[in-house]
Symmetry: C2
């Protein structure tokens, strides 16, 4: 698949809540995932390798109840693309309901996503 | 200004149609601006230097009538941020009315934006 095909598949799978399938099929084993900032209680800001990124996803799912999700894009540029994510979730440990609004920048190499970087502002 | 302050100012000025003021105050003289693809009749895909980028902006304004604009974001990550742009415009030479939907990735260095990259799909 070329970058735009990967990008469209990514949006399709995430829009259906099939995030783990996206990780298994579209990402490279040695991928790197980088958050915008360190978060208390969360995995490291930078995760290396598919296993670590899956563990981060499992941590996130265990700690958040999703009320609704909106995925927008993709917007491509050469071997990269951007996707928008908006989530209405309850953070289970605190019981606080929050609206998450972020953009993710993906980099593709040899037909797989090798890097994902999340852009957001925790300052609100 | 730090990256988030620059990002917020960028969104504020572009939201008010003050794009040239944004270029004059927030961007470095030797900035680089890169489109997602080459476009017929447009300036080069990659423009180097504030003067070339301003000329591209003037070309765009001369060739499009803006009916409405929506600017979203910014979403920051270290020294970069993403902004969303949606325009409802008429392409003056063809008379065709089009909805443009793109994301832009900005890179900041020493308090100025040094690189802007536009992400979009001309394939629709």
């Amino acid at each position: 698949m070329n970058t735009m095909e990967i990008a469209r598949k990514m949006v399709e799978l995430c829009g259906q809540g099939r995030n783990e399938e996206a990780l298994n099929t579209l990402f490279a084993q040695d991928m790197v995932s980088v958050e915008a900032c360190e978060m208390p209680g969360a995995p490291a800001r930078e995760c290396r390798g598919l296993a670590a990124v899956k563990a981060k996803g499992e941590w996130w799912m265990a700690n958040h109840e999703i009320h609704s999700a909106n995925i927008s894009g993709p917007w491509p540029h050469d071997d990269r693309f951007i996707v928008g994510f908006q989530y209405d979730v309850t953070h289970k440990p605190s019981g606080q309901r929050i609206k998450m609004d972020e953009a993710a920048l993906y980099t593709v190499n040899n037909g797989k996503i090798v890097r994902e970087e999340f852009f957001y502002d925790m300052g609100g």
